[in-house]
Symmetry: C2
Amino acid sequence: MNSSQEVVDFVENGHKSYLPHLSIDCVIFSYHELRLKVLLIRYHGHSQFGVPGGFIRRHEALTTAAYRILADKTNITELFLQQFYTFGDSPTRLNRIEIQQNHNKAYAKANVALPEDHWLAERTLSIGYFALVDHASVRVTPEFLVEEYDWCDVNHITPLQFDHNEIIEKAVVALRAQVYQQPIARLLLPDKFTLPEIHALYEALLGQPLDRRNFRKRLLALGLITQLAEQRKIGPHRSPFLYEFAAGSRAD
Amino acid sequence: MNSSQEVVDFVENGHKSYLPHLSIDCVIFSYHELRLKVLLIRYHGHSQFGVPGGFIRRHEALTTAAYRILADKTNITELFLQQFYTFGDSPTRLNRIEIQQNHNKAYAKANVALPEDHWLAERTLSIGYFALVDHASVRVTPEFLVEEYDWCDVNHITPLQFDHNEIIEKAVVALRAQVYQQPIARLLLPDKFTLPEIHALYEALLGQPLDRRNFRKRLLALGLITQLAEQRKIGPHRSPFLYEFAAGSRAD
């Protein structure tokens, strides 16, 4: 939403266009300054951050909705979103008053408030998607209701809106489960990279130190990376070999 | 639902108790006769099978709903359900008339039909759960609206209701992604087992032949199983070593 008028229209007529009881939340990871980070946004009038989210149109495919919401909220379009979990257990998702107050804080910027029994204040389950993006290639330009955004180290996340801490935790688990299965980190390194480069990346992704020799053996055994004959000269006595992700690699 | 009266009550008053636009579908796998099988049910008046499913109560945690639905439809309670994907892309989930006709075929047994614009005929997204159960320990006693059930080889599934073939396909992928990560097959073997036993099980789970020597090496390297000093005498010259799942094993 890009103006007060759009917010007013959404609050008044959204029930005709969107499904009730369902939202989508997007956990966008990036690798920056040797850290795994996550994109958080803060709505106007709110003190807590959360992940970008939105609603599904009544006749819109779920996957289409996920990409649209992320583009609307952040202007990020070039990435691969993966669904990882649907959240419907948290008691904070059931408290009408808490939900209503939460919406109203942000909508105050457009001078509009939810009437009682509004569909937005009803119980909402949220479908989680995540993506791992190249930090340098992403420019976030948040929408009208968002006051600020931040890339936050996943190891130092403050208390977020609703169950968004739990959403990020589960997304981290889903991301980590894939790092040895798929070349998920392909976008985050140059085409040819050194062992220390991919080793530092995996330590950040997995949040733990990895024995370098075993790490190399494992990636090679899985067929995830290939060692090239080529070396990179980085000093008089230092010319580490280069590696690349194997074409179409996908460990079973 | 166990009687006509319950069905009538559900059709007339269900909108007060259940969330619209959302259902849960359960993919129950078992290992039987050296095959990976899936539990299918067929409703009265239907020619196609599908997986057991149902709706979420308005104030019920999502996970609670999943276990309740499975227990209601099949009487299966002793298992660990895992959520794996939420389905909302298929066009067959958007066609009101098709959805309405589908419901009405089964409800005919209770002499009730959906009125126009009924909430059950609206677009519904479905949250998928799966479980892997010990075939011998499970007794299915289907509910009033279910005419028959079948354990069907996952490699020979006929065309099912709606997008249920896709739901099973995705559940199989989710199951297979876990077989080297977690001792998911622990329930399906005796406490102590031979290599041929677990090898046959994994070939069924993964749907492909596995080199026996590499398979053994892999499970041991992952710390998933441990070789015992004990042997099982199965013939004059055959006494294979026994193995067990490692305590609390969980490969990273």
